[in-house]
Symmetry: C2
């Protein structure tokens, strides 16, 4: 699981800071999460293959989280994309995108599939044989979801020496990987864990931006390996957090602690601050494993 | 008159090239012309004061000419702008912008005034005491206008030595600047041109992007000082120009010649080409005074 931070600052794009966008590589998927203005240029800088992005998740319809999307959709067309593109976003985005296409007398030569979100409870919005994605209802000024990406339990690994010694027919290998006991060529029952090793433990990643301090997300993200939580403000501006429905670094850390997260990534910094280290310092008072997201950083999780 | 090229490439924004946007400084106005994705960052790089932009002209509703506008409008709000903002653009843009604001439950704390264009004949769309702006109907795949910016005839300059010698009352100075003959303190009629110098000749600038080769614009831009004309293609791809309703460098030069323009600025290059000098070479076969626009260039006209 690898996380490319394309942008992690709040509000306006500036010369050296970008609004929210990140790419999560998980089990061979490239999930684009949020798409502020300039995201397509950031994707180029990160050398991320446009064509590998098949699923885009948009948290909410504030501009710093989606103004780059219509341009990316247009660019995909210019690059003669043929692969389907799925967009998971609050209701309304489809209207914005299609209106702009209509006015440009334009189209996509690939299938553009909108999955419009309206549910205020957490729901499963994507699933294949290896990954699940759930919404995380957040508390912001407009309808907003975070996203929880969960790897499914993987297959057990064959211990080939043990398998061969146990004289198991090759036709049973698949069953072994799925965890079943099998019969060998001599009619003996072979216990699965004597010839296989456990699967690599599945990883999970929770993206939570933008939100006021909101403990109701804790049960949804409980035990998550990595939590990206917005921290727009430092303590000295903590009065602004509830007013604007954002969080402080310390509040992000409290959520990480309550959720028993493995690691906390901070982001969505207000551009009023020069020194990001203060975010880490303030969060570290509540929670041990804190890292700072920053544009261009790649986290190997 | 000064022209800041923020972006002059066609299609998608890339790491080192930007879609169309430019700022024309003319008689103390800062006119923003087109607003592709990333324009607000380009404005910052050019150190152009956001608050001085009061009029934005959008040629047409293809994304590379306006996808940066909604973000700029939002940023103006975040910067607590109070100055009115006038937007001159094809009908439809207002719907796109207001829909996005509605979805974001957002607003502007300054007056946002849309002047929606539908006329297929050239028309005067802006005028004050020093500048006029006319549309230039272009021939593109969607409804498109270029814009002609014309300084008005300025005031004559007083030759103060001559004025004092002629014993003209200070109350007549204004009338002198406007070109009238006046009576002096002794009752003599003083001929205007004996005590004033001619005004600085008014300048004009025509912005023509995007368009197929289209001689019908020649009467509108006749005698223009500087013509920015799109040149998406080189000769080797000239077959693509009419199909996509774009022009070649040579066609841009033909229009410049027919219009008796003072200077031709080329731009809106297809990103398929590495070497811009070929555009200049091909245009120079038809027209003498050719320059290449490029992102970051500033032309003192």
């Amino acid at each position: 699981m690898k996380l490319n931070i394309l942008g992690c600052y709040s509000a306006t794009p500036r010369t050296f800071t970008n609004p929210t966008s990140q790419v999560l590589e998980i089990n061979n998927h490239l999930f684009l999460i949020d798409c502020g203005e300039g995201t397509q240029v950031q994707l180029r800088k990160h050398k991320i293959k446009f064509n590998r992005i098949k699923h885009i998740f948009i948290s909410h319809l504030h501009g710093d989280h989606f103004f780059g999307l219509v341009g990316l959709i247009s660019t995909f067309r210019l690059l003669t994309r043929e692969t389907d593109l799925h967009i998971y976003a609050p209701k309304g985005l489809k209207e914005v995108i299609t209106l702009q296409m209509k006015l440009a007398d334009s189209w996509t030569n690939y299938k553009l599939i909108f999955h419009e979100l309206t549910n205020t409870e957490s729901e499963l919005i994507f699933e294949d044989d290896r990954v699940e994605v759930y919404t995380i209802p957040l508390d912001h000024r407009v309808y907003t979801n975070g996203f929880l990406f969960k790897e499914k339990e993987g297959e057990r690994k064959l211990d080939m020496n043990a398998v061969l010694n146990a004289k198991i027919d090759v036709a049973y290998y698949r069953k072994l990987k799925l965890g079943y006991d099998v019969e060998n060529n001599e009619g003996d029952i072979i216990k699965n864990d004597t010839v296989t090793d456990p699967a690599i433990p599945p990883k999970s990643y929770a993206f939570c931006s933008d939100t006021a301090y909101n403990e109701s997300i804790v049960p949804i993200i409980k035990g998550v390996d990595v939590l990206y939580h917005e921290s727009t403000f430092l303590e000295k501006h903590k009065a602004l957090a509830p007013k604007t429905k954002h969080s402080t670094a310390k509040e992000a850390a409290k959520i990480a602690k309550l959720s028993n997260a493995g690691k906390l990534l901070l982001g969505h910094y207000s551009t009023r601050y020069g020194d990001l280290n203060k975010f880490k310092l303030e969060a570290s008072e509540c929670f041990d494993n804190v890292e700072l997201a920053d544009d261009g950083k790649v986290f190997d999780l």
